[in-house]
């Protein structure tokens, strides 16, 4: 038993660290660290750099263009990327539809889509959620009816992240309305330029445009865009749910934020002394750090288990709960740290370089960040759903 990285792992970390140091544009890192919103170009910039190095498709087998990393290596990448301020890799293509196509796709689908994903030529979005079906995917209503060599798709998707950037959407649709709720669902690939596809922004409570509603009206989708068998789309969706998600705990990001929180609290004053020296505030920061140290170790234990071939299913739920609540706690402390200067709100801060002439320079994004991050305990299966999964799958209740 040794909780430390071995020599090979240390060497790999050094390799990643050096690569990021050399390749990550400093302006981009600064944008990430100061809580700005990234544009499509920002994401693509970094993903192209990774693509060139062969590090984009971290979960893919080598034969399809993956780097051949195991869970520990993926974990190391996540840690280093977060610490350096590298953008998040948009998961919908490389992390989600890619593995599904590799597992269930036809030869033609593989040849068509995988290289485009690897080269960042298609931006994908995920068409799962519907207005009436959030955590309860089985109740989805979007219909796909066969007409000759294509489907006609009608319905509405919602919470579709970055649909306004997307070229393609992978989508769960109901192909057999008479089957039981979880059956009769199919996994379709839809070209976002198809006639009948309308994307409508769904602004979040902080005014951010990140998610969308996607309306599908008589959208023609060629039959060749069906992945796996008709009416077996649930199998594809479940395959993804059970997929090891190294980064779900968000440890790297939490560490970086904790560092920022401390730096802010060191500069803010309370009764003439740095806020970080206020015993109550400091104790709260310390409690978060203790929890984070434990979470990092819990995460490593799950990662190491995955490396040994253990299938991290329900453990992901635990990491998701802990990781989301911890990051929310940090965003809460950050907003509190700046006192009254949490109030001023400058939408332009997030999208431009324009400096804000009000309050300390670290204050502008904090309140919005706090509100925006309420989402992390909701999306990807709310924390209540995660607790249900643990109760059922781990505890057998």
């Amino acid at each position: 038993m040794d909780i430390h990285y071995d020599e090979k792992e240390l060497a790999f970390r050094e390799e990643v660290r050096q690569f990021i140091r050399e390749k990550l544009p400093p302006e981009l890192a600064a944008k990430v660290k100061s809580g700005k919103r990234l544009t499509k170009e920002d994401f693509l910039c970094w993903q192209n750099i990774l693509s060139e190095r062969g590090w984009l498709a971290q979960h893919w087998p080598k034969e399809y263009g993956g780097p051949g990393w195991g869970p520990v290596q993926r974990h190391i990448y996540e840690e280093e990327a977060a610490a350096a301020g590298a953008p998040w890799i948009i998961p919908f293509g490389v992390g989600m539809v890619g593995p599904v196509i590799i597992k269930f796709g036809t030869k033609a689908q593989k040849e068509k889509y995988l290289p485009r994903i690897l080269r960042n030529e298609d931006w994908w979005c995920q068409g799962y959620s519907e207005p009436g079906a959030g955590s309860d995917l089985a109740s989805l209503k979007t219909r796909a009816e066969r007409h000759g060599d294509h489907y006609i798709v009608n319905g509405q998707k919602t919470w579709t992240t970055y649909a306004h950037y997307a070229d393609m959407m992978f989508c769960l649709v109901r192909t057999d309305p008479k089957a039981k709720p979880q059956e009769g669902i199919s996994f379709l690939l839809i070209d976002m330029k198809s006639p009948g596809v309308t994307v409508r922004p769904l602004l979040l409570l902080d005014g951010e445009h990140e998610v969308n509603e996607v309306f599908l009206e008589n959208v023609k989708v060629p039959f060749e865009n069906l992945v796996g068998e008709e009416n077996k789309g649930w199998t594809c969706a479940k395959y993804l749910l059970g997929f090891e998600r190294t980064g779900i705990a968000g440890v790297g990001q939490a560490k970086e934020w904790l560092r920022q929180l401390k730096a802010i609290a060191a500069r803010e004053k309370n009764n003439g002394k740095p806020l970080i020296e206020d015993p109550s505030f400091r104790a709260r920061v310390a409690a978060v750090e203790v929890e984070l140290m434990a979470l990092e170790m819990t995460n490593l234990r799950v990662v190491a288990d995955a490396e040994k071939g253990g299938a991290p299913g329900p453990e992901s739920s635990m990491l998701k709960i802990l990781g989301s609540e911890l990051r929310q706690e940090i965003t809460d402390l950050m907003r509190r740290a700046v006192g009254p200067y949490a109030l001023p709100f400058f939408p332009e801060y997030f999208d431009t370089d324009q400096p804000i002439d009000v309050g300390p320079e670290y204050a502008p994004p904090l309140a919005a960040q706090y509100f925006n991050h309420r989402k992390v305990s909701i999306y990807g299966g709310s924390n209540e759903i995660q607790r249900n999964i643990i109760a059922k799958m781990i505890l057998g209740l």
Binding site: L205, E268, L343
Partner: protein, 376 residues
């Protein structure tokens, strides 16, 4: 002991609530939010007509003759409608300063406030001092028989809307006894820079820079201290009651959502974990109502019990508000995160109230320092 409202109190509450129900639906509020002014002058004049702007002031100065309880009723109604008007800045903070000072000048200005003709802002706190208004860098100097002020006032609520600023400043020799005095400043004067902005909860505030700005002495240190203390006391009651009003709506909307939103074939309100979270929200709301009532009942007193009640209230509201707001968003799921729906805007306001006049830590600390500890 009697927790029933008097007829007059009930009428006040009902009049205001009816007005807001009829003229201030959420859609109207959202349009105002996006307008350049950011609030409704028209509604402000209706308030004036109905006497709402004079609620916490005595009959002698032309007020409604109310006290903490009446202020609580008004602020709760304003919170339920998530209003954007500068009631806190103009009436509660600025107006209370004027009512306490009670000079000829203050009285005539207060009459204008009550009549809805003048908007005020209370420029007191400064950058780097968080919620602590005891130490100021802004200072006043005598010049040409009057005074000039220099300094920077932080996050002045509705600072950009005010016709007159009430500004606190340290006095130097020749101005008055040393200490913090209060001045009236015309924001259009030379030497005054007002940098206005929107706050995350949709209100307005401003940074105010003063560079040898001409100012009129409103209250010398001793009276100024009393006026600031009373204004903050009233401000705390108003904020707590506003938060209670907003939390009421949050709880109502969340309960409604739990009853209507279906998942797995049943209303999600059938799930026990969600039920219990909702119960805890309602319990927090009840406790918030109680402590706000306690603060409102004590705000017109003087002494340690008043200060304890005020800080207890703001601390408990800060904690409960966060719990209620976060729980409501969580129970709603995605829809609780959207701009189009009203609840998230209430949630933002409830959370951000913690950043006005001292947050939960500030007031717990203050309560802590006033806490009685007797011998064993």
């Amino acid at each position: 002991m009697n927790f029933e409202l008097s007829d007059e109190q009930r009428m006040l509450q009902e009049t205001l609530s009816r007005l807001l129900r009829e003229q201030y639906p959420f859609e109207t509020r959202q349009k105002l939010l996006q307008s350049p002014q950011g609030f409704s002058r028209e509604l402000w004049h209706r308030y004036a007509e109905l006497g709402i702007l004079g609620v916490p002031f005595s009959d002698e100065v032309g007020g409604f003759g109310g006290g903490g309880i009446e202020l609580m009723l008004v602020a709760k109604a304003l919170g339920r409608a998530l209003t954007l008007e500068p009631y806190l800045a103009t009436v509660v903070l600025g107006g209370t300063v004027l009512a306490t000072v009670d000079s000829q000048r203050a009285r005539s200005l207060l009459e204008e406030v009550i009549a809805g003709q003048t908007l005020l802002a209370f420029a007191h706190w400064e950058p780097g001092e968080r919620y602590n208004g005891a130490i100021l860098s802004t200072h006043a100097q005598a010049r040409d028989g009057g005074h000039v002020l220099s300094g920077h006032k932080a996050v002045v609520l509705h600072g950009q809307d005010a016709d007159r600023l009430i500004v606190s400043a340290m006095t130097r020799e020749g101005v008055a006894t040393e200490g913090i005095a209060l001045f009236l400043v015309d924001p259009r004067s030379p030497g005054v820079t007002v940098r206005g902005y929107t706050t995350i909860d949709g209100l307005r505030a401003a940074e105010i820079q003063l560079e040898s700005a001409p100012a009129e002495l409103l209250a010398a240190p001793e009276q100024a201290a009393q006026a600031i203390d009373r204004a903050i006391g009233y401000g705390l009651v108003a904020l707590c009651a506003e938060a209670v009003g907003a939390m009421e709506v949050i709880c109502e909307l969340t309960l409604e959502y739990l009853k209507t939103r279906q998942q797995f074939g049943v209303p999600i309100g059938k799930f026990q974990a969600l039920q219990h979270r909702m119960v805890d929200m309602v319990i927090r709301l009840e406790q918030s109502r109680s402590i706000t009532l306690l603060a409102a009942a004590h705000v017109d007193d003087t002494g340690i019990d008043r200060d304890r009640a005020l800080s207890a209230a703001k601390a408990l509201i800060g904690k409960s508000g966060r719990f209620v707001a976060e729980s409501a968003i969580q129970l709603h799921g995605g829809i609780g995160m959207t701009w189009e729906y009203s609840m998230p805007h209430y949630a933002k306001r409830v959370v951000m109230i913690d950043h006005v006049l001292g947050d939960v830590d500030f007031h717990l600390d203050r309560f802590s320092s006033l806490m009685e500890v007797s011998a064993a």
